[in-house]
């Protein structure tokens, strides 16, 4: 059954229920007709019994057969008569001996040989009237014959209607299936057709369309990432290729060649950095970016990052300050160093004024903040951590557009998150979070000691 199409299954169930209903209806009609025929015969018998009783009580000597009616029969059975009683011709039984005995004291109704008979005691006699049953049987047989033709026809017609209705109800689903069959990565903007009625199928369609919407958005992000990545890769490759081709077009002095090689090396570095960043982002996407969970003193980490950029900040006339907090976290020193380095580099390149590094403990996490006195474009903030987004369109040829995406990836690998905001008093604030060091450092030290 479950292998059959839903449409057939619905029709079969409908037909089965319909068959039961129609059979019950037929049986009901049959019984009702039989009842009403019985009632008519009974009334007829009673009428004749009463007429005959009057004759018997009146002592008149009337031939009872005059009261028998066209096809019925009427008899008066005397006091001493013994059963069984037969018709005059003797070929049909009217009353058995037992029935006759019973009829001496009470009214007896019985069927014999195609007759309904009623025997009633009147004084010391028994009055017997009868009606033939063949009319009744004929009427019932006729009804049965009609029902046997009409009911299967009705069943067939209603099943056909059920089949059509089931088809109509399933049509929106078939339409959705056909469209879903056509949707592929290249036509992901397509949506399933929705039925006009706001029913279960409509809700299913809406839900599926919402799912398609999410998949499409993911696909679109992926597509944009590939397009952006190819653009980011082609730009340094184009510079590299042109640099080398121009250098080779004519004889060059050693100094010229050295300059060309320097420039090519610079572009190569950029490509290497880009490739590494892309790989890191890809690993993060696959959830394959693993980080160590070493105890890290935050103050030392911040001081080291600040120290690394000290000279370039000085050259740009900027100051980097570190605020001590005494916080400790569990994390990967190298990755956090990289993330903070990216943030400081961004602050120096795109921000303004003093760059401050500080940490805040909050809710089991340590927030590592890098602030400067510049500020973000409000439109940029929601997209800050997406790949290849830049606050300014200018491509200075240095950044890869992946810096903040990598900061976010490193924060996520630590179980934390990355955020960017404008400070209330002006200035930009970017921070990432990493889990606080839970067990106190002494205990950690002892543990390690016992292992040695």
């Amino acid at each position: 059954m479950s292998r059959l199409p839903i449409r057939i299954r619905l029709t079969l169930v409908f037909a089965a229920v319909m068959a039961v209903v129609l059979a019950a209806l037929g049986a009901f009609l049959y019984v009702r007709l039989a009842d009403s025929l019985d009632e008519r015969i009974s009334e007829d018998l009673d009428a004749r019994r009463m007429a005959l009783t009057r004759v018997v009580v009146g002592g008149g000597d009337v031939d009872p057969s005059l009261l028998a009616g066209a096809e019925g029969l009427a008899r008066v059975i005397g006091h001493g008569a013994r059963g069984p009683v037969y018709t005059e011709t003797g070929h049909a039984l009217l009353l058995t001996a037992d029935e006759l005995d019973a009829a001496r004291t009470r009214s007896v109704t019985t069927d014999h040989d195609g007759y309904r008979l009623r025997a009633v005691p009147v004084a010391d006699k028994v009055v017997l009237v009868g009606d033939p049953l063949d009319d009744r049987q004929e009427a019932l047989d006729a009804l049965l014959a009609q029902l046997l033709v009409a009911l299967p026809l009705a069943l067939l017609a209603s099943s056909a209607i059920g089949y059509i209705v089931a088809g109509a109800a399933l049509r929106p689903i078939e339409a959705m299936r056909r469209r879903a069959d056509e949707i592929s990565a290249s036509t992901s903007a397509q949506r399933l057709p929705l039925p006009t009625a706001h029913d279960e199928v409509y809700r299913l369609g809406v839900t599926l369309n919402e799912m398609l919407e999410r998949l499409d958005a993911g696909l679109e992000r992926e597509r944009r990432f590939v397009a952006d990545a190819s653009h980011e890769l082609r730009t340094p490759l184009a510079t590299l290729k042109t640099e080398l081709e121009v250098a080779l077009r004519q004889p060059r002095s050693a100094a010229e060649l050295e300059h060309a090689i320097d420039s090519a090396a610079e572009e190569t570095d950029r490509l290497v950095r880009l490739a590494e960043n892309l790989l890191l982002v890809a690993r993060s996407d696959q959830g394959a970016l693993t980080v160590a969970r070493d105890p890290i003193a935050v103050d030392a980490l911040l001081a080291e990052v600040a120290g690394r950029f000290g000279r370039s900040a000085e050259a740009a006339g900027r100051i980097i300050e570190v605020e001590d907090s005494g916080a400790e976290l569990a994390g990967d020193r190298e990755r956090l160093d990289q993330a903070l380095g990216d943030l400081v580099e961004n602050a120096l390149r795109h921000g303004a004024g003093e760059v401050r590094l500080h940490a805040v403990e909050h809710d089991g996490f340590v927030e590592l903040h890098v602030t400067d006195q510049g500020g973000f474009d409000e439109l940029f903030l929601p997209r800050a951590f997406e790949r290849f987004t830049r606050a300014d369109d200018a491509r200075t040829g240095e950044g890869t557009g992946l810096g903040l995406a990598i900061v976010a990836a490193i924060a996520r690998a630590h179980g934390g998150s990355a955020h960017a905001a404008n400070l209330a008093g002006g200035g930009a604030d970017v921070w990432l979070t990493a889990p606080k060091l839970l067990n106190d450092p002494d205990a950690a030290g002892r543990d390690r000691g016992s292992l040695v």
């Binding site: 190819s230 653009h231 730009t235 184009a238 510079t239 290729k241 042109t242 081709e245 077009r249």
Partner: protein, 225 residues
């Protein structure tokens, strides 16, 4: 040749300047789209190299701006993107050729030479004759501010006229430009479509811009009315 390079990537711009200069060309560099727009209008360049990805005004808009302002120098666009859409948008905006980064410098030079050979005839993106306007890229036609809807054949016929305003075109010429060989012998198809076209671009506006030249063919009046 005097060549304008519009490129925001400083290193690439410097390289193009050096490489082209070594080939004996005079090269100016614009680092933004806005600079590119006014520089091309200020001097008569033989060719322009235009990067499509520019900060501010992007390459497609820059190119369209030039064509609107009557800058007809051949434009070779450079793109680092994959998308066909970028190239279609650039070419429809009036660019003459494109190269995808990374490109071969020798090919860049060859393409610039080829572009320069074509000279700088007017190549408007939108054809205009009087107050009739036709945009082949979007397939739109206007009489004044009213947009007119034409069938594909009517459009092809009108485009043929609008590329040669004032010229008398014989039925055979019209057949050659707007129909293919299958129609060669059925010259009355031209008369039928001329009637359709007049119904759409002349009659509703009370004009008679499409004239019948007895014994010669048809002509679109130079003033379009």
């Amino acid at each position: 040749m005097r060549i304008l390079v519009v490129e925001d990537e400083l290193k690439m711009a410097a390289l193009l300047r050096r490489g082209l200069a070594e080939e004996g060309h005079a090269v100016d560099v614009a680092a933004t789209g806005d600079d590119g727009v006014w520089m091309a209008q200020a001097a008569d360049y033989d060719a322009i190299v235009l990067d499509l990805m520019l900060p501010g005004l992007d390459g497609v808009s820059v190119c369209r701006r030039w064509r609107e302002n009557g800058v007809w120098a051949p434009v070779l666009m450079l793109t680092a993107r994959d998308g066909i859409e970028d190239r279609v948008a650039g070419l429809d905006a009036g660019a003459d050729d494109y190269l995808r980064k990374p490109f071969s410098f020798a090919e860049l030079l060859a393409r610039l030479r080829a572009l320069a050979r074509r000279g700088t005839p007017e190549r408007p993106i939108v054809l205009e004759v009087g107050d009739l306007k036709l945009d082949p890229a979007t397939r739109q036609v206007w009489r004044g501010d009213t947009e007119i809807s034409l069938s594909a054949k009517e459009f092809a016929l009108l485009e043929t006229f609008m590329r040669r305003p004032g010229d008398v075109l014989s039925r055979l010429q019209l057949l050659e430009h707007a129909w293919d060989y299958a129609y060669e012998t059925r010259s009355n198809v031209v008369d039928v479509y001329m009637r359709y076209l007049r119904e759409k671009i002349d009659r509703p506006f009370g004009r008679e811009s499409l004239e019948t030249v007895r014994g010669a063919g048809y002509r679109l009046r130079k003033d379009g009315s």
